[in-house]
């Protein structure tokens, strides 16, 4: 019986620990095979760079309010214009990217880690632990993720760190289920049985033999989830529950005021909107390329 995880990429063909290859060779091959993926990686790199070095790049303090220049059109002192309080849009977009990416990446890292551990243990040990985990996952998957995120934000209160918790929580169940499915298959594989027969402790078998073989689907799913996370951060911002102002994030820069004044001052919404969409687009393309590369069944198809 197949569970609720059609996107699951089960490395059915992978019957032993993945062989290591030289990094640069692999990268070169990746770029040749997936030009779109390579471009996406470059775009993403640029975005990450701009976000990481937001402080030196920004022409202005993103919090500084210039009341002589409220909602000013791009040009002159403010290359991308200013917002309703006279703050520089370019600087806020750069800092906003930092916030949005930090939140999304932190949430995905936390959610992936938790989901992986839960999935590994649940799949490896089975029994009552598995039963409980699966029922909890059932419950959580019966709820649309945005509703769960909203309820969590209401419970935790709108703080930036809570956005991370909420997004992390909603990706855990799906991930745990997929990892569990992979582990269930691996558990029966000869090399795992061999490792156990040779007296490998549970921890060692999990770490050395099972985890590495679940990495491919985890990476693919985490990349997918990352694009979702950036959008959820923005959606929570739309609903007024996201990152706390005045800290800029792409999400809150796109919320009420930007939409309210879109016609009069499109420069308030366009830069964060375009930056966000471009980033998500790049993550998706990269995810797609990674999936083709890491999914052994498709690799076979590639030949």
């Amino acid at each position: 019986m197949s569970g609720g995880s059609a996107e699951t990429v089960l490395p059915a063909g992978a019957s032993r620990p993945a062989p290591r290859r030289s990094g640069s060779v692999a990268l070169g091959r990746f770029a040749r095979r997936h030009p779109a993926g390579a471009v996406a990686a470059l775009v993403l790199g640029a975005v990450l760079f701009a976000s990481a070095f937001a402080a030196p790049i920004s022409p202005h303090d993103p919090y500084a309010q210039d009341y002589e220049a409220m909602m000013r059109a791009p040009g002159g002192r403010y290359p991308l214009g200013t917002d309703y309080l006279g703050r520089d849009i370019l600087s806020r977009t750069l800092y906003g990217g930092r916030t949005s990416l930090l939140i999304s990446i932190a949430a995905i890292a936390a959610g992936t880690a938790a989901g992986t551990v839960i999935g590994l243990l649940s799949g490896f040990y089975g029994g009552w632990l598995d039963g409980i985990v699966q029922r909890v996952v059932d419950v959580m998957q019966a709820l649309p993720s945005i509703i769960l995120a909203l309820a969590l934000m209401a419970v935790l209160g709108p703080r930036t760190e809570n956005v991370v918790v909420a997004i992390a929580t909603i990706i855990v169940p799906g991930l745990a289920r997929i990892v569990r499915g992979t582990v269930l298959q691996l558990r029966e594989q000869q090399f795992v049985e061999a490792a156990r027969a040779l007296g490998g402790s549970d921890g060692r078998v999990l770490r050395r033999h099972i985890l590495p073989n679940t990495m491919a689907p985890i990476i693919v799913i985490a990349t997918n989830a990352l694009s979702g996370a950036i959008l959820i951060e923005a959606s929570l911002g739309f609903l007024g529950l996201g990152t706390q102002l005045p800290v800029p994030s792409w999400g809150n820069m796109l919320s009420e005021e930007a939409r309210r004044y879109f016609e009069q001052a499109p420069w308030m919404a366009l830069p964060p909107g375009i930056a966000l969409s471009l980033t998500v687009l790049a993550v998706n393309f990269l995810g797609d390329a990674l999936r083709d590369t890491l999914d052994p069944r498709l690799r076979r198809a590639q030949g």
């Binding site: 779109a36 209160g157 959008l231 923005a234 959606s235 919404a269 998706n284 069944r297 198809a301």
Partner: protein, 314 residues
């Protein structure tokens, strides 16, 4: 088969019970309680305890839960704290809106995903492949509220047109109903199509590698027939599963689209009820959504059997 059904029903029931407990507990730990939310802007609260008692909130948690659950079993989801209307009635009014939005969005997304996914799979790595992905990823990458705002704004400026306001049931006026749902469903559909397209593409690619497809090729069948007749049917299973997931997502996850296009579906209802700390409404809506989702997933499992005769449930 019967045993499988029974097992799924029991598991579904267990999930619902868990969901009921989760919903019941969750609303009660949200800071700011129902009584406070009702008092609007005045500080004039002479007897807060009385107000709580009036809503039955003074009783122990377990008693409240069991009382509520007892009602649920009898098909009574309770009365809204906020509007004093039966929760079931409001949910049944919201359901058609959400379901119609979800179904049209899924149809539209399949309309995009199937042909484009098939084209992308048969011209792998070519221009069609890239173009299809660019289109669908584009839909996936731009936030809903962003596209929706632009469509409304420029629709109203350039064409002096926005979709009709408020839900019009198809029975009342089918054209108005469709005029109303087309744009929001298209925005959601475009978003969904990215995932479906990718899945159609990879499932087809995979299916095309299977031995029976190679046999079909070898038998001299033409490309189109192989693709549509054999490969696609095989690719149907993962597509069905993703449809189930999409339905869950759309049922109340399209809250932002509902907001902007003024469609009062289930998502809207949940969000508003959370704002009002309307416990019975939140609990009812979550449980109701869960019931629909579990039902749909069960239906999908059954559909597998139809789509793939190799699957026999034990």
């Amino acid at each position: 088969m019967r045993q499988f059904l029974l097992r799924r029903l029991i598991l579904g029931g267990a999930a619902l019970l868990g969901l009921s407990l989760l919903a019941f507990g969750l609303v009660r730990i949200i800071p700011g309680d129902a009584v406070m939310a009702q008092l609007a802007e005045s500080g004039n609260v002479s007897d807060l305890a009385a107000a709580r008692a009036q809503l039955g909130l003074d009783r122990p948690f377990a008693v409240q839960y069991v009382t509520w659950l007892g009602g649920v079993v009898r098909g009574d989801l309770g009365t809204s704290f906020w509007s004093k209307r039966p929760v079931m009635e409001d949910l049944l009014a919201a359901l058609p809106v959400s379901v119609e939005l979800a179904v049209i969005a899924m149809l539209l997304s399949m309309l995009v995903a199937l042909p484009l996914g098939a084209a992308a799979a048969s011209h792998r790595g070519g221009g069609v492949d890239l173009g299809a992905r660019l289109l669908s990823f584009g839909g996936l990458s731009v936030p809903h509220f962003w596209i929706a705002t632009l469509v409304l704004l420029y629709g109203s400026i350039w064409f002096r047109w926005v979709p009709p306001l408020g839900y019009v049931p198809p029975g009342e006026s089918l054209t108005q109903n469709l005029e109303q749902f087309m744009i929001p469903a298209a925005i959601l559909g475009l978003h969904l199509s990215a995932r479906s397209l990718r899945l159609v593409r990879s499932s087809l690619l995979e299916a095309l590698q299977e031995d029976y497809i190679r046999t079909a090729w070898a038998k001299g069948l033409r490309g189109g027939r192989v693709l549509w007749g054999h490969a696609l049917r095989n690719a149907l299973i993962p597509i069905l599963t993703i449809l189930g997931g999409q339905f869950t997502y759309l049922l109340s996850g399209s809250v932002i689209i509902e907001d902007i296009f003024s469609l009062s579906g289930i998502g809207r209802y949940v969000v508003e009820s959370i704002t009002h700390r309307d416990y019975p409404a939140v609990q009812g809506a979550i449980l109701f959504t869960g019931l629909v989702v579990i039902g749909v997933n069960l239906a999908i499992d059954l559909a597998y059997a139809w789509a793939d005769p190799r699957i026999r449930y034990q």
